[in-house]
């Protein structure tokens, strides 16, 4: 009986894992850019590849969003069925590279001069052990304020240059009966805002030591406590229903003029564009007060897998097209981010995009381009999520004082390391 069962099982499983033959003139791509603007931007890449004779094939993922895609990717890689490339974030690339499943694009990188044009901070994630394993698509930065200009004019506000200016501006909005700060009370949004608060409170040196190097002295320093106090101050300006709100609904509050400002990454600009708003006339983009000159970034990458040799040509074509100046410009104009190489002309970008490109260049040269801890570019996911937990518990009152918050932060990060 048992033997029969085993044979049955073997038969059943052999159907499931039947060999997956891939066309050599085909780029298999796992990504979750399926909505409006992003899909349109990706179409540019598809057409570029079609010109060179490569067909594009989306790897289907049930259910949108990065989590589902990452679970699907994990299953594909475990089954030895690699896609040509996959959209990936931060440490995921390094995890897969450490597992030895990523390809090697060093030759192409040399030929195309990526070493020089891609910011060094980004190469930390796209180069593993001296080998190029991923092609960065864009650079997002999170230390932005998005302000409704009509509300700003009404309350007579000006660009805040320091944290105290910012608080004064929020007070003005409050006095005028507008929700001062639009925030979505989900842990990643709170932590994304806190990234900026730490940079503003402690300066670039401190941010790097605390949020990228995870230096324990810095994490429990008075500066960190002050950062938590500043965060607590900001949270007093949100509306009572903020908890659990999605980020784009918070952006909508600013667009409609129900709220003055949102602290959010530059993907928020896409929402303004979708609502036909123009920077400068309808909305304003400023760097988070006290962080001008520094950029906290995260970046989308196309991780390149170690595919069989006959599929490598398609992979090289994809990587080259991804980092071509024309695609970098066309894609990022739509996406709201800035190009992943610093030598792309900014002619097609709007005012906020131009500022983003200039800031990135300056930060890259001045060594003030830092990974966002909240977005998973400061430390591995376990640490990043422990950090988000602590920030969120502080915002929602499970952690009551900034003293307790830094103790918890050190403990949680230690635990996750």
């Amino acid at each position: 009986m048992l033997r029969k069962l085993l044979i049955g099982t073997a038969l059943a499983t052999s159907f499931a894992f039947s060999a997956h033959a891939a066309d050599v003139k085909e780029v298999q791509m796992l990504h979750w850019w399926t909505s409006g603007g992003e899909a349109a931007a990706l179409n540019v890449l598809k057409q570029d590849l079609a010109k060179e004779g490569y067909a594009w094939k989306d790897v289907p993922v049930a259910g949108g969003g990065g989590d589902a895609a990452m679970t699907a990717l994990k299953a594909m890689v475990a089954a030895g069925n690699y896609p040509t490339a996959s959209q990936m974030l931060g440490y995921t690339v390094l995890d897969y590279a450490a597992a030895g499943v990523m390809g090697d694009l060093t030759e192409t990188a040399k030929k195309e001069g990526w070493d020089k044009s891609v910011p060094a901070a980004l190469q930390k994630f796209s180069v593993y052990d001296g080998k190029w394993v991923a092609a960065p698509v864009n650079v997002h930065s999170v230390n932005w304020l998005w302000i409704n200009k009509a509300v700003m004019d009404k309350i007579g506000g000006t660009e805040p240059k320091t944290f105290d200016d910012f608080v004064a501006l929020l007070d003005k909005a409050k006095a005028a009966g507008v929700t001062p700060l639009a925030l979505g009370g989900q842990n990643w949004q709170e932590a994304t805002m806190f990234d900026s608060v730490v940079l503003s409170t402690g300066g670039p040196e401190f941010y790097k030591k605390a949020m990228n190097d995870l230096d324990e002295e810095s994490l429990k320093s008075d500066t960190m406590k002050k950062s938590f106090d500043n965060l607590a101050k900001l949270v007093t300006y949100v509306d009572p229903n903020f908890s659990g709100r999605d980020w784009n609904l918070a952006t909508a509050m600013v667009i409609k003029g129900d709220a003055l400002v949102q602290v959010m990454g530059d993907w928020a600009k896409g929402e303004f564009h979708a609502a036909n708003k123009t920077p400068g006339t309808d909305f304003l983009c400023y760097r988070f007060p006290g962080t001008d000159g520094s950029v906290i970034y995260n970046s989308d990458m196309f991780g390149m897998f170690n595919v069989p040799d006959d599929r490598k040509a398609a992979q090289v074509a994809l990587a080259t097209a991804t980092l071509s100046k024309s695609f970098q410009s066309a894609f990022n104009v739509v996406k709201g981010s800035v190009p992943a190489r610093t030598d792309v002309p900014d002619t097609d970008f709007d005012a906020c995009g131009k500022k983003g490109i200039a800031d990135l260049k300056k930060a890259n040269e001045g060594g003030t381009l830092f990974g966002s801890l909240a977005q998973g570019y400061g430390a591995p996911p376990a640490v990043a999520n422990a950090y988000k937990d602590v920030v969120s518990k502080f915002v929602h009152g499970q952690i009551k004082t900034s003293d307790e918050a830094v103790t918890e932060l050190v403990k949680a990060i230690d635990d996750a390391k």
Binding site: L5, T9, M70, A78, A382, N385, K393, V395, G397
Partner: protein, 319 residues
């Protein structure tokens, strides 16, 4: 001698006298087994096989990918430590206390409400055919739909509170879904709304199955309606309680999607259940060993509750 040999042959005619019939009848004997084999094999591999695999992984230091080197019970040690971190609450502490609150209230209220509705519907009332599906239909919805609908309904800025404010009752205040201490009760509300109609249907079927003669006899003996239900009907419904309990218990333990759709984890992660913890740690935080350990603990908890209950119920039945 020859006659004996002949009778022996006749005694076992299927084996060699008529080979065609023998194959067919053997096939007929085997058919149920053949039909069941694939699902049996699938269950062995995909349920029990992976339970063993999960237990194995919980003793490794698996992070993003499974690693197969046993490194000891570090994952359990961490969970054990987190079990007692109540101030500020660790994610695991929140998850298991929430499981206790949610499981107890969800099962308790569903059973009570389901029984109550079934008794009311059993009074030979008019329009039962319309009322029954109305209560039953929420069960046809997925937890995601239930979660999203209740999220909007309970949101103070959109739903109930806002509406009552517009109607003039401005002092009305109901913000549990935004409150870290009460958010788990909103999960109970949505869960009960969905499942109590189904429990009602189970009880109704049970009530219809009770012999009318017993009821009449009790009434002749002068039992009041309350006594009738307390002493006769409810004890007779015991098997229904068992089925309803098992259905509700597993729904409670696997309700992951309801928490996500209704609260997206709650303020500061205050609505997490162990299943959310498991998913977060395994797939988002790349702590597969800790995630596996939490899954094993969930399994052990279910076993500890269900097995003694099943054992006592089924043993009494066989007596």
């Amino acid at each position: 001698m020859s006659t004996v040999a002949e009778t022996q042959i006749k005694l076992t005619p299927e084996h060699d006298a008529r080979p065609g019939a023998s194959v067919r009848s053997r096939l007929q004997d085997l058919l149920p087994k053949i039909v069941l084999a694939p699902s049996f094999a699938a269950t062995i591999v995909f349920v029990y096989g992976f339970i063993l695999w999960t237990i194995y992984l919980s003793f490794t230091n698996s992070k993003t990918f499974p690693s197969y080197a046993i490194t000891g019970p570090r994952a359990y040690q961490r969970l054990w430590r987190w079990t007692f971190e109540s101030d500020p609450p660790s994610s695991w502490y929140t998850s298991i206390t929430n499981m206790g609150i949610f499981g107890f209230l969800y099962i308790g209220i569903c059973l009570a409400l389901g029984l109550f509705l079934a008794i009311l519907l059993d009074q030979k009332i008019r329009g039962e055919g319309v009322l029954r599906p109305i209560y039953l239909y929420p069960m046809a919805l997925s937890f995601i739909v239930t979660g999203v609908a209740w999220k909007w309904f309970l949101d103070p800025g959109l739903g109930l509170e806002q509406t009552l404010h517009q109607w003039g009752w401005t002092s009305f205040h109901f913000d549990w879904i935004k409150n870290k201490d009460f958010v788990i009760y909103t999960v109970v509300i949505a869960g009960v709304w969905q499942a109590s109609g189904f429990v009602m249907a189970m009880f109704l079927a049970g009530l219809r199955g009770i012999d009318g003669e017993i009821m009449k006899a009790a009434q002749i003996d002068g039992a009041s309606a309350f006594q009738l239900y307390r002493r006769i009907v409810i004890p007779l419904l015991r098997p229904v309680f068992l089925s309803a309990f098992i259905v509700l218990a597993h729904l409670a333990i696997k309700s992951y999607d309801l928490v996500v759709a209704l609260t997206s984890g709650g303020p500061g992660g205050s609505a997490w259940l162990p299943s959310n913890f498991m998913y977060e740690f395994t797939f988002k935080r790349n702590e597969m060993a800790v995630g596996s350990a939490s899954a094993v603990i969930m399994l052990m908890t279910i076993t500890a509750i269900i097995v003694p209950y099943l054992y006592s119920e089924l043993r009494e039945k066989s007596r």
